[in-house]
Symmetry: C2
Subunit: 250 residues, 2 copies
């Protein structure tokens, strides 16, 4: 991914010092959206960028598990130039990335059954009240689908663009096209499509064709490989970026 | 699955003549929930039961595509015993199943960006205002996750029970445990867990262990197979039930 986007301080709208906010979304769940988001974060970091990763997939926050980060975000008092005191959330720092996820706040096995308005409020805090500092990229692992939370978040953030992940199966492609439609409706540029888990079992090539039909860039494919699943299961996604598999995602 | 549940006319609460309403849910999307729901419907039908299949996965309704059904539900006027006229939705009949899905009402590539309250109203219509007739089983393909829609639906239906589908990866198991927690919170008996896509790449055995930990039945595993994906892609899930693969799911 040479995502050389010169996003105009796209975080400025919500008061952040982030050059590029990039959403990683998908129509369907379980297609590897979190895997690609984490890979993008580690990949950009290994190129020397300052990167944050916001896990906004509130119903299935996988980023803490996949990165093996177990810290807790802290709330600290900050003194404003005008003398008032305000509380800011400090993200978890792990492997040189700044991470924020509801997964840090709720025990691993507990369901989050909050409804729309409460989720909206929480995501606003994660974005605008967190002390992200100066970042080149803030990667946002979006909730799957095109519902409430994905829509609210897309409207709230001034994203430099969105990467849409899908797997080769027809139903996943249909859902990916829906997600593209949603981003386009709220005027978020589509940076491209990634086809994940390609191979004998799920097939390949469908996303490339869909990218041509939708007139968006095709960013490449990631084959289905036990290694990818193992690194995610064993909380060490970072290890994918020290091996030769870097060439696969690139 | 010999799901010999003698659910007490579990549909009666919402005025349906359905003996057993069974939810098929999952914490994570893309784990094969729709595949298992459709398989369950075809499986129970091939045993001689009258079966309906309600696709409540509003953000990614895959049932119309997987079953190859393209009809449209009709709205017809019904005369009530008291003389008043009421409109009822007639589900699509395909392969001897009664099907209802938002996928019949919205073109394939269009995103559904409705928010909680509108979805709630639509699902209520799909359940209570549809002329399901006398059914032995109504299988409900639930939305993934534990959010608004899944919660509302669970509370609205008097379900005989829920089947939770997951894949062998750790993050899918974590999400499945959350879904189990949600169903238990709203007092829906868990009929069991199915581990889907087992094999070399994703591993196997995790769900069986989780089922033991959660003290719920383990209903079996379905291996990851190109045939399952192909039948789904080519709109002919029914074909899985005429071949020897029936023994796999059983
Ligand atoms: N290319 C791949 N090969 C093998 N396993 C993969 C691949 N991509 C993702 N996975 C695994 O599939 C599961 C789902 O991926 P995840 O990133 O959680 O999807 P999503 O965020 O879309 O729900 C994870 O366990 C992950 O390790
Ligand atoms: N055991 C399996 N082997 C191979 N492919 C499968 C299997 N189960 C499901 N699939 C495929 O995986 C994709 C996701 O399944 P789906 O039932 O749509 O999941 P969900 O409803 O959980 O999103 C579909 O394209 C389906 O054909």
């Amino acid at each position: 991914y040479t995502l050389n986007i010169k996003g105009p301080e796209s975080g400025a709208k919500v008061g952040l010092h982030v050059k590029n906010m990039i959403a990683v979304g998908s129509g369907k769940g379980g297609v590897g959206k979190s895997t690609v988001a984490a890979s993008l974060a580690y990949g950009l970091q290994s190129l020397g960028a300052k990167v944050g990763l916001l896990d906004a997939d509130v119903y299935g926050p996988s980023i803490p598990h996949m990165t093996g980060s177990t810290g807790k975000p802290e709330v600290r008092e900050h003194l404003n130039p005008n003398g008032s005191v305000v509380q800011r959330i400090h993200p978890v720092e792990h492997d040189g990335l700044k991470l924020m996820s509801i997964g840090f706040l709720v025990p691993e096995g507990e369901a989050i059954i909050w409804r729309g308005p409460m989720l909206h409020k929480m995501l606003t805090q994660f974005v605008a009240e967190t002390e992200w500092g100066e970042l080149d990229y803030l990667i946002v692992d979006m909730p799957p689908g095109t519902g409430d939370v994905a829509l609210t978040l897309s409207q709230m953030l001034s994203l430099a663009g969105a990467v849409v992940v899908c797997t080769p199966q027809k139903v996943a492609l249909l859902d990916a096209v829906k997600a593209i439609g949603m981003y386009q409706k709220v005027n978020i540029p589509i940076l491209g499509m990634v086809e994940n888990m390609t191979g004998e079992i799920f097939g390949r090539g469908g996303a490339e064709q869909a990218a041509v039909d939708q007139k968006i860039p095709f960013l490449g494919e990631v084959p289905i490989e036990a290694e990818v699943r193992i690194c995610g299961d064993e909380r060490r996604m970072k290890d994918l970026f020290t091996e030769e598999s870097k060439s696969k995602v690139a």
